[in-house]
C-alpha cells in the first residue's frame, strides 16, 4: 500500500539533490491529473467544478509546475491526501527550487503517515531557504513525531533564533525538552510560549504537565484552569502558506465555517450571505436554513426566520436545531404555548440533548404547568446528571407543584453550581418560609444575599433584602 502511493516521480524528486539543476520535464501523463480525474463525480458541484478547473489548467500548461501545485492545494483543502500528494510531488519535481511545493508535499506525506519522506521534503525546502520559520517549525514537528527528540529540540531552537517571538518555536522547544526529561527547562520554554501567546491552550496544558512533574501542583492546577477556560482551540497559525490552502475550501462545509466565523465576530450580514451562498450550492441544506432562523431572528426579521424554519423542517423534520431556534423566537415574542409545542418537536428529534429538555421545561413552567416542567427537567438529568441548571429548575418546579421535600432536596443538590446559587437559595428561603420554618428561611435568605453579585437581577436582590428584613422582624421577639 505504502509503496504504491509513492509515485516514481515522487521518488525521483526525493533523490534529486536540493538546489541542483533539474530538467523540468512534465511527465507524459500527469499522475496527479489522472488521480484527480476520478474525483469529483459524486462531490458537491462547486467542489467538483473547482477541481475540474484546476485539472484543466494542467493540460493547458503541461510544463508549468504551478497548475499541478494549485490542484494539489485544492485537493489538500478537501483532505484528498493521496491525490494531493501526487500533485505536490509533480510540482516539486518540475520546480525543485520552489519551497512551497516541497513544504506542502511534506504536509500531505505526513498526513499519509509517510513521515520520513515528509522530513526529506522539508529538508530540501530548508536547503533552499534556511531562514524559513514555518519550515523549521515543520521540521521540528516531524522529528518529534519520529521520536528524534534531540534533533527536534535543536530545530526548535533554530526556529526561535529566527524569531524570538514565535510562540510555536517555544512550544516545540518545551515539548521536546519535556520528552527528554529536562522538565525544568521545559517549563521555562513553555512559560515563554504562554507569555508570547496567552491564548495558546496547548502550551498551557503542556506547562501544567511539566509543573506537575516538578511537584508544583498548585501552579499546575492554575495552568489547567487557564487551559480549561481556553478549551482545545488550535494555536494561532504561524504558517501563511497553510492558511492559503485552507481558504480554498469552497464547499458547503467551508461556506458554513465562514458563516460561523462571521457570526462569531458579530457580522450578521456576512454570516447570512455565506449561508445563502451555501444554499445556492445546495438548496436542500437543512442545517443552513436552521442557522438562518437564528441569524434572521437575531436581526429582528421574523418573517424570514419563519420562512427558513419552515424550509428546514420541510427538508428534515428531525432538524432539532431549527425547531429549537424557532421556539426561542416564539418565547421571545411571548407565544409560549406555541413555543412549548415546537420545543417538544425539538426534543422528539434529539431525545438525548438535555439542554432542549431544559428549554421545554422552562417554557412549560412559565405556562404554569410545573408538573410537566418537572418531568422535562428530570428527563434532562437522566441524560446529563451534571446539568446543574436542570436540577435547580427541577427543584423550583417541584416546589411550585407543592412537592416540598423533593424540591428542597433537588435545590440543595444543585447549590454548588455557583452561577445560580443566589436564586436557588432564595427559592429555598421562600419554601421554608411558606412551610413555617422562618429560622431556616432567614438563614437561606442571608446566604442568598451573600451570593449576589453584579449579574444578579436587581429584583431578586430587592426581594431578598425585603425577605431578610421581614424575617428578622418576625423572629426578633422570639429571639428575646
Amino acid at each position: 500500500m505504502r509503496a504504491s502511493l509513492t509515485s516514481t516521480l515522487a521518488l525521483a524528486a526525493l533523490l534529486h539533490p536540493a538546489g541542483a539543476p533539474c530538467r523540468a520535464q512534465a511527465p507524459a501523463e500527469s499522475s496527479c491529473r489522472a488521480a484527480a480525474a476520478g474525483l469529483g463525480t459524486s462531490f458537491e458541484p462547486a467542489v467538483a467544478r473547482q477541481i475540474e478547473q484546476a485539472r484543466r489548467r494542467i493540460a493547458e500548461q503541461e510544463a508549468d509546475p504551478e497548475p499541478r501545485g494549485r490542484l494539489g492545494m485544492v485537493l489538500h483543502a478537501y483532505r484528498q491526501w493521496p491525490a494531493a500528494e501526487l500533485c505536490y510531488a509533480e510540482a516539486a519535481a518540475l520546480a525543485p527550487s520552489n519551497v512551497s511545493w516541497l513544504r506542502l508535499w511534506a504536509m500531505a506525506l505526513a498526513e499519509l503517515g509517510r513521515v520520513p519522506e515528509a522530513l526529506a521534503a522539508v529538508d530540501r525546502a530548508l536547503a533552499l531557504d534556511p531562514d524559513s520559520l514555518p519550515a523549521r517549525l515543520q521540521r521540528a514537528e516531524l522529528l518529534f513525531a519520529l521520536g528524534r527528540l534531540d534533533e527536534s529540540l535543536a530545530e526548535a531552537l533554530r526556529a526561535r533564533r529566527l524569531d524570538p517571538d514565535s510562540a510555536a518555536a517555544s512550544f516545540l522547544e518545551g515539548r521536546a525538552l519535556a520528552g527528554l526529561g529536562r522538565v525544568e527547562a521545559a517549563s521555562a520554554a513553555l512559560g515563554r510560549a504562554v507569555s508570547l501567546a496567552p491564548e495558546h491552550a496547548q502550551a498551557h496544558y503542556a506547562l501544567a504537565q511539566a509543573l506537575r512533574r516538578l511537584g508544583r501542583t498548585q501552579q499546575a492546577q492554575a495552568e489547567l484552569r487557564l487551559y480549561a477556560r481556553l478549551g482545545s482551540v488550535a494555536p494561532p497559525s504561524e504558517d501563511p502558506l497553510l492558511d492559503r490552502v485552507l481558504a480554498l475550501d469552497e464547499g458547503v462545509g467551508g461556506r458554513i465555517a465562514r458563516a460561523n466565523q462571521a457570526a462569531l465576530r458579530g457580522d450578521l450580514d456576512a454570516a447570512i450571505a455565506a449561508l445563502q451562498s451555501a444554499l445556492a450550492v445546495n438548496p436542500d441544506l437543512a442545517v443552513a436554513h436552521a442557522n438562518l432562523v437564528v441569524l434572521y431572528g437575531r436581526g429582528g426579521d421574523l418573517e424570514q426566520a419563519r420562512r427558513h424554519y419552515q424550509q428546514a423542517v420541510a427538508l428534515d423534520p428531525r432538524q432539532a436545531d431549527a425547531h429549537a431556534a424557532w421556539a426561542r423566537l416564539l418565547v421571545a415574542q411571548g407565544r409560549l404555548s406555541e413555543a412549548a409545542g415546537v420545543f417538544a418537536q425539538a426534543v422528539a428529534a434529539a431525545p438525548h440533548r438535555a439542554e432542549l429538555r431544559v428549554e421545554l421545561g422552562r417554557t412549560l413552567d412559565a405556562l404554569g404547568r410545573p408538573a410537566e416542567a418537572a418531568a422535562a427537567f428530570r428527563a434532562a438529568l437522566d441524560d446529563d446528571p451534571l446539568h446543574a441548571e436542570a436540577r435547580s429548575l427541577l427543584g423550583q418546579a417541584l416546589l411550585r407543584d407543592g412537592r416540598l421535600e423533593e424540591g428542597l432536596d433537588q435545590i440543595e443538590r444543585s447549590l454548588d453550581s455557583g452561577e445560580r446559587a443566589a436564586a436557588d437559595l432564595a427559592a429555598l428561603a421562600r419554601a421554608h418560609e411558606a412551610d413555617g420554618r422562618p429560622e431556616l428561611a432567614l438563614a437561606y435568605a442571608r446566604r442568598a444575599l451573600l451570593r449576589c453579585g453584579d449579574r444578579t437581577p436587581a429584583d431578586l436582590v430587592a426581594d431578598l433584602q425585603a425577605s431578610v428584613q421581614r424575617l428578622e422582624s418576625r423572629l426578633r421577639p422570639a429571639a428575646r
Partner: protein, 550 residues
C-alpha cells in the same frame, strides 16, 4: 484439558517468517460481520462489534463469541485436538444464544464481556448494544438463558465496551459499561465529508451519554450505582475501558477512553466512591492538551517497572498515545519518544492489547485498524474504510518498532477491523488474536512468532473457583527481572480476552528458582513455587500447589 503442543500448526499454510497466519477458514471460524450499512450512515454501523474469548464449557480451551452488528451473535465452540489442531463448531442455536431479529428492530450488537457473574463456576456473557443490553447466564450444561429485565442490566442506550471487576471487594464481579452517544435512528443527522459526499457523522454531532457502574448483588442481579459512586460526574462518548489498580493502593480503578472528549481516570476511593483524576494525572488529554478520538485501550507494564501503563488507539492524524505511569497513578505521554507517534499517525485504531507476542519477556502491541470516514471520497467501494492492522515490537530502551511488514500477509490485508480479543487459543504458550472486522469476515490470527522462546500461561482462581479478575501476578526468577501481569478480560475495544496471565520466558536457560507471587483481589499475597518446565498451570488461592500443571 487439551495437552500443550509446541508450535503445531497444520491448518494454515504458513510461510517461514510470518509472525501470524489467518487460520479462520481452515479452523472453521466462519463468522462474517454484518454492519447493516445501507446508505443511511447510521453511527452503529461504523463502530463495528466485539469478540469474546471464553471457555464456556469448561473443557480447558477458549471458545469464541462474536457480536453481530445486524443479526444474531454467534458462539463457536473450540474442539482443540491433542496435537494442537484448532477446529471450531458453531453452537449458537444449541447454546440457546440465537436471537432472531424481529421486524422493525433497530438494535445493533456492540460489545461483549465474559465473566462468572454468579460465582457458579461457569462463564456468563454480557452483551452491550445500541438498544437494550443483554446478560446471558451460563447454565452449566452448555446452554445459556437470558437474564432479562431482572438482571438490572438492560440499559437501552448506546452501550460500548464493558469491564467486569470487583470494585467493592465483596467477591462478586461488578460491571462498568461505557456508553457512546445519543444517536438515535429517529434523530439521525445527515453528515457530509469535506467534499460534500455523505459520510458518517463525527461523535460530536450527538451528546455523550454518562457511563454506568453496576454493583453485583449476586444471583445474576445488578444495581446501577453510577450516581452513588460518582462515576456520572464526568463523561464523554465512551468507547474503551480498562480496569486495574493504577495508583498502587490495592483498589481497582478504571480508565475510560472517550471519543473526541477527555478521558477519565476513576480512582477508587473505597466505600464505593470514585474520583476522576485524569486531568491532573496527565491522562485526560495527549501531551498537547488535545482530547483525542479514544477508541481502544489497554493497561500493562510495558517498561517492567511494576506499574500499569496505558495505550489508547485513536483516529488517523492523531496517532495513538502511550501514557507511562510513574507508579503513583500520574502519567506522562511518551508516544513520540517511544517511536509510536509517526508509526500510528495514519491509522485509525480500535482493538489493541499489550501482550508479549514473541515471548521475549516484554509487552508488545497489536492494534487493529479501519477508517471511520471515507479516506478517498471518490471510492466506489460499498464500505471503503479498510486499513491494515499493526504489530509493534517492544525493543526496550530503543522504543517500539513497527514490524507489521514482516508479520505476513495477514497484516497486509486491509479490513475494517474493530473488536480484537487476545488469548492462547491453542494452548501452546503464546498469544493468538481474533479480530471482528466490520462488514467482513472474522480473522483468527495464530501466533507463529516464537517457536524457540517459551511461554507460560497461568489460570488464577479465587477460593470460590472463579477467575481472579484484578489479581496481580509477578513471575520471579533468579536470572531475569520480574514480570508483572494481571488477571482480567477487559481492555481492547468492545471485546473480552483470555483472562489468564501470559509470561514470555525468552530462550530456554536453566533457572533453579522460579516462582509466581500473586496479590489476590482481597489483598492476600501468596507465592507459588514453579518448575522450569511449567507451561500451562491452574493455581487456586489458598492452595500452595498447582491444581493442574502441564
Amino acid at each position: 484439558m487439551k495437552l500443550f503442543a509446541a508450535a503445531l500448526l497444520l491448518l494454515a499454510p504458513a510461510v517461514a517468517g510470518d509472525l501470524f497466519v489467518d487460520a479462520a477458514d481452515s479452523a472453521g471460524l466462519g463468522f462474517r460481520h454484518v454492519a447493516g450499512a445501507e446508505g443511511r450512515f447510521r453511527i452503529p454501523e461504523i463502530m463495528g462489534s466485539g469478540v469474546g474469548l471464553l471457555d464456556y464449557d469448561g473443557d480447558g480451551d477458549l471458545d469464541v463469541y462474536f457480536v453481530q452488528g445486524a443479526g444474531s451473535d454467534r458462539l463457536f465452540r473450540s474442539r482443540l485436538a491433542e496435537d494442537g489442531r484448532l477446529a471450531f463448531e458453531d453452537v449458537t442455536r444449541r447454546a440457546g444464544l440465537l436471537v432472531e431479529t424481529r421486524p422493525g428492530e433497530s438494535g445493533h450488537g456492540m460489545g461483549v464481556a465474559a465473566a462468572d457473574v454468579d460465582n457458579d463456576g461457569d462463564i456468563d456473557l454480557f452483551v452491550s448494544r445500541y438498544g437494550p443490553d443483554r446478560l446471558w447466564l451460563n447454565q452449566g450444561d452448555g446452554t445459556f438463558r437470558e437474564a432479562g429485565e431482572g438482571s438490572g442490566l438492560g440499559d437501552p442506550g448506546f452501550g460500548a465496551s464493558a469491564a467486569f471487576f470487583d470494585f467493592d471487594a465483596d467477591g462478586l464481579l461488578d460491571l462498568f459499561l461505557t456508553r457512546y452517544n445519543g444517536f438515535t435512528d429517529a434523530g439521525a443527522k445527515q453528515c457530509r465529508g469535506p467534499t460534500g459526499v455523505l459520510d458518517y457523522c463525527s461523535p460530536l454531532e450527538y451528546p455523550p451519554l454518562p457511563d454506568r457502574l453496576y454493583r453485583n448483588l449476586g444471583g445474576g442481579r445488578f444495581r446501577d450505582v453510577s450516581a452513588q459512586a460518582g462515576v456520572d460526574q464526568a463523561f464523554g462518548a465512551g468507547l474503551g475501558v480498562a480496569a486495574a489498580d493504577f495508583n498502587g493502593d490495592g483498589r481497582p480503578d478504571l480508565y475510560v477512553a472517550n471519543d473526541k472528549s477527555p478521558n477519565q481516570l476513576w480512582l477508587n476511593q473505597g466505600g464505593g466512591r470514585f474520583v476522576d483524576d485524569a486531568l491532573l494525572a496527565g491522562a485526560a488529554y495527549n501531551q498537547d492538551g488535545m482530547a483525542e478520538a479514544g477508541m481502544g485501550v489497554t493497561a500493562g507494564d510495558y517498561d517492567g517497572d511494576g506499574d500499569l501503563d496505558l495505550f489508547v488507539t485513536h483516529i488517523r492524524g492523531e496517532s495513538s498515545t502511550l501514557y507511562r505511569n510513574d507508579g503513583s497513578g500520574a502519567f506522562e505521554d511518551v508516544t513520540a519518544a517511544s517511536g509510536l507517534a509517526a508509526a500510528s499517525l495514519a491509522a485509525t485504531g480500535f482493538g489493541v492489547l499489550w501482550f508479549d507476542f514473541d515471548n521475549d519477556g516484554d509487552l508488545d502491541l497489536f492494534a487493529v485498524n479501519g477508517h471511520v470516514t471515507r479516506p478517498d471520497a471518490a471510492s466506489r467501494e460499498p464500505f471503503p474504510y479498510g486499513q491494515p492492522n499493526q504489530l509493534f515490537r517492544n525493543d526496550g530502551a530503543a522504543g517500539f518498532t513497527d514490524v507489521s511488514a514482516q508479520a505476513g500477509p495477514a497484516l497486509r490485508r486491509a479490513g475494517v477491523s474493530r473488536g480484537a480479543a487476545f488469548g492462547d487459543l491453542d494452548n501452546d504458550g503464546d498469544i493468538d488474536v481474533v479480530v471482528n472486522d466490520a462488514d467482513g469476515p472474522a480473522q483468527l490470527l495464530l501466533n507463529q512468532a516464537a517457536p524457540a522462546a517459551r511461554g507460560l500461561v497461568v489460570r488464577l482462581l479465587t477460593r470460590q473457583g472463579r477467575d481472579a479478575y484484578g489479581a496481580r501476578a509477578t513471575l520471579r526468577r533468579a536470572a531475569a527481572p520480574p514480570l508483572l501481569r494481571t488477571v482480567g478480560a477487559d481492555g481492547s475495544y468492545l471485546s473480552s480476552g483470555d483472562p489468564r496471565p501470559h509470561f514470555g520466558l525468552g530462550p530456554s536457560e536453566p533457572d533453579a528458582s522460579v516462582s509466581l507471587e500473586v496479590l489476590w483481589p482481597d489483598g492476600a499475597r501468596e507465592r507459588f513455587p514453579l518448575t522450569e518446565s511449567d507451561r500451562l498451570l491452574t493455581l487456586r488461592q489458598g492452595q500452595a500447589v498447582a491444581v493442574t500443571r502441564q
